[in-house]
Symmetry: C2
Subunit: 655 residues, 2 copies
C-alpha cells in the first residue's frame, strides 16, 4: 500500500470496501484469456490488501458470497454489467476488455465508499478508439512532462524492469483506455529506429504488458524513416521503393507484435518531415502508410496539428488558427478507411481557453478523433491546480451546427487521444491532484455524458478519501480550478503570454514578436486578435454559419473568447458593465485571491488526508500562489503601463 | 597552413614576410629556458612555413643574416626590444617572457607586411597581471561560448590531446597574456574536485603547456569545497578546520604545479556559496584563501560581480547597478596583499553600453584589476560583428576623478582579466573576425595607450591579409561595428531587452518583470531607469562629485547613457534636436541599414581574402542582417504601440 504510487487503485486505503471481503474471498472465473487473467489478478490484489491472503478459486458460483466473472455476448465490446446481490457479485463483459473494465469499475467505486446498491451498473464505451499518447523520448526525457523522467525509456533503450509499466497499464485499463502510443510524436534519431530489429524485441515486451490489459500499442513514426534508416533517396509516398519499404516494415513489426495498433504521425508540422516535401498531400502520405498496415488491421493516426511555425509577426493578416482547417478541409473524403485524423480540441495549442476547432464537423467523410492534453503544458504544469475535464467536456458538447442544430462534436468523432501526464515520480502524475485529469480523460471518453462533477467525485473518493465531507471540499476545489487558473493568466481567450519554451509563468510579450503565430497585439489603445471576416483574418468563416455569426459580432461572441476573435479598446464595455481594462484588473486580483483560497482550503484538510498526498500537493499550492501573484502583478502593470488607466478600486498596481 | 586555425599566427599566408627568410635561416640563441624554447620553436615554425626547412642553429652572431635571441637585464620583466639591421635581427627581453613576446611581435608584424624599419620596437607591459578566463565546464560545454565545445575538457575529464591547447597558449602569449584560469567561475560538482588528486595530475599537464609559454595557471574554486569534497560541516573562513583544509589543499596543488597562479573566486553571487553564509565578509573569505596560497606566491582573484539576483521588479528603489560598490567599498584596505579584486568594466553585466563601474578609483588601498568579456555574450555572440577594443579603451581612459582630474581607470588597476571567446570550432573564435577581440584584449592590456585602430590594423594584416587596401576596408568595418550593433539594439544605455537566458536577439520585456534587476520601465509616456540622487535610486552618488554631477543632470549626462541614468518622456528633446522616440526610430532604421552595409562591404572583398575566412564570416553577416532587422522592427513597433507617436519620416513601422 503506497497511496502516492497507487493513484486511484488504492484498495484498502480506508475501511470503505471492507464489506466486499466476503465476496472477494472466493473467485469464480467462468471465462479465460490474457485480459481475464489481469482482471483476476486485480481482484486478488484487492483481496490481499483487505484480508492479507489470496482468494479461493472456485469453479461454480457459491451462494454464500463469491465474485463471478463471465463473458456475456449480450453486451457490446468493452461493455459490461455489474450486479451485486447478497449471494454474489457478478461482472459480465461483452468481451475480455468488458470484464476487465467491469472489475476495475467495481473496485474503484467500492474503494471510494459507494454503497453496494450504487454498484449495479451497466455501461458501454461510446467510442471504439480511446487512446493515450506518450511524449516520451528514448533518452529518458519526456517532452512537456512534469512528473519526472520517462517510465518507458532510459539511456536510449526501453526500460528492462516492467513493474511501473504494468501498473500504468492497470491504471489506463481501469478507465477504459484501449490504445497507447509509446513514443513522442516528435520522432528523433533513436526513436526513428524503433521500427527496426534493433528495438522491436524490446518494444514487443512492452506491447505484451499492455496487451495483457486490453491496450493496443502504437508507435510514432518518422515520415522520413526510409531515408534515415535505410538511406533511400526519397520518402515520397508515391515512390515504389518507399511504398514497398513501408510494407516490409509493417510485416516485420507484426511479426514481433501480432496485435500492433498502428502508427501515429506528425508530418509537415513544426519542422518534421512529411509528404509536402515531395509535392504530395496529407491524404497521399497517410494512405500510403495505411495501405502498408491494412493487411494486419493496423491504423494510421494522422495529426492535424499542421501550421506554419515561421510566420512573420509583422503581417497581421496571417492566422495560425486557420491552419488545420485550411490544410485538411480540402482533403475530406480522400483518406483511407483505416486513417484517423487527430484534431486538437482548439485551433491553437492547448491553451486554457480556446474556441473549439472548426475542423470538427467539417470532415463528414473522414474518420476523426479529438486530441486533448492531459499533461498541463500551458495549464499549470502539475503545479497549479487545473482540473481539465470541464474544458474537454465543453469541446465534446460544442454544437458545430454542421448538420443543423445538435451537431455536437461528440457525434462527429470516433474516439479521442490525449497526451499523458505520467512520469517516474513516486506519484505517477507528479502532483497527486493531477491524477484527476488522467482518470477523468479515460472516464469522459468512455462516456461523454458523465458530468465533470461526477467524475471528480469518483476519483477523489478512490484516490484520496472516501470521507464524503472531505471529498466534497476537494471536488469543489477541482471544479473551480480551471476558472481560477484562467482568471490570473491571459485574459478572455487571447492565450499565450507565457514564458517562451517553458510555458509556465507569465511573459506577456514572450511570443508577441515570434514566428509562432501567437499574438495579442496590445497597444496603448486596445488589444486582441481580430479574426472576423469583416475586418480581420477571416477565421470566423471556417465555422458553420450559426457559429460564424455568433463569433463575428462582439456583442454575441461568448465573452470568455472575446479577445480571441476581436481587437477591442481597453474602454470596451462588457456585459458586466465593466470596461475591458477593469475586467483585466478585477479578474487578476480575484484569481490570485482565489489561488490563496485554494491553499487555505487545502490546509484546512491537513490530518484528513494521507500525509504524503497532503504535503506533495501543499508544496504545489504554495508555488501556485506565488505564480498567481506574479501573473497578477505583471499583467496589471503591463496593461496599466500601456493603457494609463487606473483601477477604479485603487488597488495596488505597480508602476 | 590553415588560415582559419592559425588565427593571427598565419606566417606565410602571403609574400609579406618573404624578406625575413634570410634572417630566420640561422638562429643564434644566447639564452636558455622553457619559454625561450617556445620562442625558438616559433621561429622554426615560421621558417618552415616560409622555406620548407629547419633553420640552422649557430652559436655566435653571423653578419650575413641571422636571428639573435638574448636576455638583457636593461629591459623590464616582459619587456623587449627588437632591432633589425642588414646583418641580423635581434630580440632582447628583460626575461624569458620578454624574449617570447618580442619574437611573436616580430613575426606578427612581419607577417602583416609591416616594413623592416617599423619593426625596431621597444615595448614593456603596463601591468603585471594580464589574464584570460575560461568559462569552460568539465562536461565539455562552455558557458557563454559561441565557438563550439571546450578545448580543455570532454566527458568530465581534461582532454588528453594537448595540440589545440598548445596552439591556444601560443596565441595568448603572442599578445602578452601571462595568466589563465582554466575553469568556469561557476564551479559545478565535477570542477569542485579539480583541486584533488583525482584531477591534479591532468591539470598539471595543462599547466605545463601554459608554463612553456610564460602563462601561469589558475583554477576557479568553489568556496564550499571543504564541505563538498571532504564533508566538513562548514566552510566558514574563520573556522580552524576550514583554514587548515585550504592550507593542505594549497600544499597539495603546489606539489603538482610548482608555479601555480592561484584561485579565482565567484562567491556570494548568483547563488554561489561564499563567506556571507557564515556571517563573514568578502575580505575574511578572500584573505583566508590568500593566506593558504601566500607561502607559494599564489594569488586570490576575487570577483566583485556580487549582487542580489532575486530582487522584486515591483520595487523601483532597488538598483543592481549599486551592488558592487555597496558590497566592496566598505572593505577597502582590508584585503591581503595577494588578493586582487576583479571589477567588471560596468556596473551591470557586459552590456553594449554601460557607464564605467564607480568602484574603480574607490578602492585606493586594494589591489584591483578590471574584468572584460571577450566572448560576445550580449554583443552579438560571434555572429554580429562587434569589435570591442574601443569599448574597453573607453573604460581604461575613463577619468574617475577619485584623486582629481586625470585619475584614469588605467592608473587605478594592476591588470585585467577577460572571459575568453575560444572553442573547438576550426576557427578558434567561431567567427574569424572575432579573433580581433582576443588579439585586441591582449594588446590593449599590454599597452593601454595603443589606439583601437592600430590594434585592428595589426590584427587584420596578420590574420587576414597584408593587402593594405583590403585591410583598410576591414578595419573601417571593425571600427564602426560597436556603434552599429548598439544602434539597432537597446537604446541610450538602457541595456538588456535581449532574449532571456540566451542573450541573443530582441525581447524588449524579456527581463522587465524578472528578479534579475534589469529594467527599462517603459510605459506609455516614457522610459529609462532613474538612478539620480535627487529622484531615483541614488546610484550617481557612488561616483566622485565631478562625475556625479555630470550624470545627475540629463543635460550634462553623456547622451549615449541617458536612459541608464534617467527616466524621460518620449518627447524629451535631445541635443540633436530630435525627440527621444524619434532618436529610437532613426537609430534603429540606421543600424539595420548599416548592418546591411557591412554585408555589402564584406561581399565586395570576395576573392581578396582566403575563401574559408570569407565564407565563415559571410554566413554570419547574413545572420546579423536578419537579427538587426528583427531588432529594428520589434523595437520600433514596441515603442510605437506604447507611445502612439509616428515616425516623422513615415518609414514602415508595423502596427
Amino acid at each position: 500500500m503506497d497511496i502516492l504510487y497507487d493513484c486511484w487503485l488504492a484498495y484498502g486505503k480506508d475501511d470503505a470496501m471492507k464489506w466486499t471481503e466476503r465476496y472477494l474471498s472466493r473467485l469464480c472465473v467462468l471465462c479465460i484469456g490474457r485480459v481475464i487473467s489481469s482482471a483476476v489478478k486485480e481482484l486478488e490484489t484487492a483481496y490481499r490488501r483487505l484480508a492479507g491472503k489470496i482468494p479461493e478459486r472456485i469453479s461454480k458460483p457459491f451462494s454464500g458470497g463469491c465474485f463471478i466473472l463471465r463473458i456475456n455476448g449480450d453486451f457490446d465490446a468493452g461493455g459490461y454489467g455489474i450486479s451485486v446481490s447478497d449471494d454474489n457479485i457478478t461482472v459480465e463483459g461483452g468481451d475480455e476488455n468488458g470484464v476487465l473494465y467491469g472489475v476495475f469499475r467495481f473496485l474503484i467505486l467500492a474503494s471510494g465508499g459507494y454503497s453496494p446498491e450504487k454498484l449495479n451498473i451497466t455501461e458501454k464505451p461510446c467510442y471504439p478508439l480511446r487512446m493515450a499518447d506518450q511524449w516520451d523520448n528514448a533518452d529518458g526525457t519526456v517532452e512537456r512532462g512534469y512528473s519526472g523522467a520517462s517510465i518507458f525509456y532510459e539511456k536510449d533503450r526501453p526500460v528492462s524492469d516492467m513493474t511501473r509499466l504494468t501498473d500504468y497499464a492497470r491504471l489506463l485499463s481501469s478507465v477504459g483506455i484501449n490504445a497507447i502510443c509509446i513514443n513522442n510524436v516528435n520522432v528523433h534519431k533513436t526513436e526513428t529506429h524503433f521500427i527496426t530489429e534493433k528495438f522491436l524485441p524490446d518494444i514487443a515486451k512492452i506491447a505484451d504488458i499492455f496487451a495483457d490489459h486490453g491496450i493496443k500499442l502504437y508507435l510514432s513514426v518518422n515520415f522520413a524513416a526510409p531515408m534515415e534508416i535505410d538511406g533511400l533517396p526519397t520518402a515520397d509516398p508515391l515512390n515504389e521503393r518507399v511504398i514497398s519499404w513501408w510494407k516490409c516494415t509493417a510485416e516485420k513489426i507484426y511479426s514481433y507484435i501480432p496485435d500492433f495498433g498502428g502508427f501515429l504521425v506528425k508530418a509537415d508540422s513544426e519542422n518534421r518531415p512529411g509528404p509536402h516535401t515531395y509535392g504530395r498531400d496529407h491524404a497521399e502520405g497517410a494512405n500510403m502508410l495505411a495501405d502498408a498496415l491494412k493487411p494486419y488491421g493496423g491504423k494510421v493516426i494522422w495529426r492535424c496539428f499542421v501550421y506554419n511555425c515561421h510566420v512573420d509577426w509583422r503581417d497581421r493578416s496571417t492566422d495560425r488558427a486557420k491552419a488545420a482547417y485550411d490544410n485538411f478541409k480540402p482533403l475530406d473524403g480522400k483518406f483511407a478507411d483505416n486513417v484517423f485524423l487527430q484534431i486538437k480540441n482548439g485551433p491553437m495549442d492547448f491553451q486554457i481557453r480556446e474556441p473549439v476547432s472548426p475542423l470538427f464537423g467539417a470532415m463528414p467523410n473522414t474518420n476523426c478523433i479529438c486530441e486533448f492534453q492531459i499533461t498541463q503544458e500551458y495549464t499549470g504544469q502539475q503545479i497549479d491546480l487545473c482540473y481539465l475535464v470541464p474544458m474537454w467536456k465543453e469541446c465534446l458538447d460544442f454544437d458545430t451546427y454542421s448538420d443543423g442544430e445538435g451537431s455536437f462534436v461528440s457525434k462527429k468523432i470516433l474516439g479521442a487521444a490525449a497526451v499523458s501526464n505520467v512520469g517516474a515520480n513516486r506519484c505517477l502524475t507528479g502532483n497527486p491532484l493531477a491524477g484527476a485529469n488522467l482518470y477523468g480523460y479515460g472516464r469522459l471518453v468512455f462516456d461523454p455524458s458523465l458530468s465533470a462533477k461526477q467524475i471528480a467525485e469518483e476519483w477523489v473518493r478512490a484516490a484520496l478519501t472516501a470521507d464524503e465531507e472531505t471529498a466534497e471540499v476537494i471536488c469543489t476545489m477541482l471544479l473551480s480550478s480551471r476558472e481560477i487558473y484562467e482568471s490570473y493568466t491571459s485574459p478572455l481567450g487571447v492565450g499565450w503570454m507565457v514564458t517562451p519554451h517553458y510555458h509556465y509563468g507569465v511573459d506577456v510579450d514572450g511570443y508577441e514578436y515570434s514566428p509562432w503565430g501567437t499574438y495579442h497585439y496590445s497597444d496603448r489603445n486596445g488589444m486582441g486578435a481580430d479574426r472576423t471576416r469583416a475586418t480581420g483574418t477571416g477565421y470566423t468563416a471556417q465555422y458553420a454559419s450559426h457559429n460564424e455569426e455568433m463569433y463575428e459580432d462582439p456583442s454575441t461572441c461568448p465573452e470568455e473568447l472575446l479577445l480571441f476573435f476581436h481587437h477591442l479598446p481597453y474602454t470596451y464595455m462588457l456585459k458586466s458593465g465593466k470596461t475591458l481594462i477593469q475586467h483585466i484588473y478585477d479578474s487578476h486580483f480575484d484569481g490570485a485571491e482565489k489561488a490563496e483560497g485554494l491553499l487555505m482550503q487545502w490546509r484546512s484538510l491537513k490530518g484528513k488526508l494521507p500525509e504524503e498526498i497532503y504535503s506533495e500537493a501543499e508544496i504545489r499550492f504554495e508555488k501556485q500562489l506565488l505564480n498567481s501573484r506574479q501573473w497578477r502583478d505583471v499583467i496589471n502593470t503591463y496593461f496599466f503601463r500601456k493603457s494609463g488607466i487606473d483601477d477604479i478600486h485603487s488597488r495596488k498596481i505597480y508602476r
